[in-house]
Symmetry: D2
Subunit: 77 residues, 4 copies
């Protein structure tokens, strides 16, 4: 689940392989651009870490982050 | 499931929405390039149709098609 | 360029290879979902055909199609 | 260009926007899976950082890294 630390929401994801991890990133990319709000994305092989904060609000966690986090969670249910 | 007609293997897929359909296409794209064998891809919103035949063998269905079809099936199990 | 025929805007694209064609489709996917307006996508190897019409308006060409076409054109300039 | 530091090859990329950055990542994803060699990927908005090392060789830079780096460079020429 998402943890809030250093003024960021962060969640780690683990998939079966790189192809599944990248499919997830494709979905995140579309959601992010649609929301005009882009996470920090870190990926290596089957692991993905996403971090969210709101630059325009001074790099703190806002509802924009919580809403995008909730949309992303629906992808991996 | 795949049907063989007009010297092509064809299968229709239906997803919840465009984002899920596109995630699937990302996976198919990676598998296709890895196999150096590319399907005909048709997509509109949540629907995808893939068709496979082997150009180098004279546009007939070969084991290259059957193998890629089997890999694609694993994505949607 | 786009042609209007059978109440659809259609344009053919050709790329160097499948990887470039798929990168373009990734961009189109993001633009489409952002506009909540999805083209018919046809791809085989380095070739892509996109068709646009507005279902809600009775499957005719509207400004929604012309606007998305203009956004897609910017990708390939 | 790529720098070699801490037994990793690293290169920073900057694009016009997120859509262009993600199109590049789609290409990198396909090349990586095809080579069965996966970079560390870091992305935020229009910025991408890729790092390459060879886990099986004890996390040092090998020809597998140099070859994938060369393939990636061709994408952004």
């Amino acid at each position: 689940m998402w943890t809030e630390e250093n003024n960021k929401l962060t969640r780690n994801f683990e998939f079966n392989n790189f192809i599944d991890a990248f499919a997830f990133l494709s979905q995140v990319a579309i959601l992010a651009e649609k929301a005009n709000h882009h996470p920090e994305i870190y990926n290596v092989y089957n692991k993905v870490t996403l971090s969210l904060s709101t630059h325009d609000a001074g790099d703190v966690v806002t509802d924009k982050d919580r809403n995008l986090a909730a949309s992303i969670d629906k992808l991996v249910k």
